[in-house]
Amino acid sequence: MNKEDILRSINQSFIKVLEHDNFKLTESTTANDVDGWESVTHMMIITDIENTLNIKFKLMDLMGMNNVGDLIDTIKKEI
């Protein structure tokens, strides 16, 4: 999977959990840029990505994530 494929996939997870598509995810997108992306939904998005891509994040990796770019980089390491 390249970066674009990963972005497309996580975009679907965001839509599914947040129940809207009123955002455009880029590598620099943070929780402040997306309506409804906060503590509660963050963990649900993470779980959905794990299930969809059949990967398992490490808590240490999740802790260091500051934006969508970090999320993509971590996924690349896990796949």
Binding site: V40, T41, M43, T47, M63
Partner: protein, 497 residues
Amino acid sequence: MNLIPNLKKSFEKHASKNALCINDVFYTYKAFSEQILKIRKLIQTEISSKEKFIGLITNDDIQTYASIFALWFENKAYIPINPSAPMQRNKEVLNSTGASYILNSNIDAFNDEAFSVLPTHNIGYNSYKIKEGEINQNGIAYILFTSGSTGKPKGIPITLKNVDSLIYALTYDGEYILNDSDRCLQMYDLTFDASLTAFLPAFLSGACSYTVPPGSMKYFHIFKLLQKYELTVLKMVPSIIHYLRPYFSEIYATSVRYCIFGGGKLYEDIVKEWLKCIPNSKLYNHYGPTECTVCSTYHTYSNTLGKSHNGVISIGKPLKGFNHLIIDDKNNIIESGDEGELCLSGPQVTLGYWKNDTLNSASFFTKEVNGILEQFYKTGDICYEDSEGYLMYIERKDFQVKIRGFRVELGEIEFHSKKVITKNNLSIIDINNSNGNNEIALVIEGKAFDIKELQNHLQSVLPNYMVPTKYFFLDNFPHNTNGKLDRKALRNLIKTD
């Protein structure tokens, strides 16, 4: 009363020790005491001694923590104001107490011309000599406002004497004794009274409190602090471990010696797993309404010793000083161990809701116990007491729910929703999400329509934790045989949606 003298003694004795760690910056008790002195000077210079209630903007910095003690040492109460809560609500809270002064360490976070906002981050005087006065133990320490079912938040005043009784009771049986080497988690916003049982025992023992910044993903930040600083005392809301649960296999914190939960139901299955992550820790379940000064009962839980009911860990036995009763719908005392409403009296119980006689007469009653007339508070919590005296929490009697530890009256959300949705029936319910935590759902009867205006309105009048996160439309609401809305059926209907 020992609280104020003991705080002063601790600050002096532990001058060279760290009191606070905020965003990786450490502050010693000496630096903390200096901040308190500066703010006391500011209070003595700018605020009349008649002004008893002072707003405090709850920023995450040393000045805000120092302000609490500066106000107490000056016989004043703090009214905590979260700068991210809607301005209208904050002003309502301040106006209801008559507070006209506000201490604020960050003017960008809160400013309003209707109040005298005194900055605490940059106080410059030539001398910080201050006058020492006598402490009035019956004086109010803080007034907290919690969600009210009539649409207005209700104020709960707590006196210094109440707080003093709490500290005495918490340490009475020797089960929870901190020392000056402890590193304690302080994850709570200061508008939440659980913050007091996080920072007060720490400050009284010369321990260091590690704060969690607002707006952060709290569970990640807590894990980060735990790893980096090897925290020894964790006081948390149960939702934190629900979030961390998928990653328990990566957590092995041998440094933790006390872990305390409070502010929501604590489930036995997850606690059994969590104990493996903190193998050297004692684990306590705290219970207590804000009206009874943070904590009223507690239960020590271990894998070999611990009580539970339907998978929910017992709230244990009352702290020293409390009397308790369980009553039925007609206020008769239940002696049989059957379920009923838990009522509490004792030195930690508030004198009553702030300027609210109607609510006070509904929530408090007096009864003679051992020849003394005691004022009992009806908690609204349905419990039963087992044969060994352990209290088991069953459910709420009313429509109050806990969201991330915060008390939420569903009626208050309904009240504000009906300002926008005037033509449809609607109902607010709490639902469990996939993490095992509570969320608020708003259900509207009728065909789906655009709810942006409703969402915007709720965001402008309610704090973030009270704004519904799920919205549903149903053609018809279910009713029971009495014609009343059947909330249980409603919950099941939207589950299958």
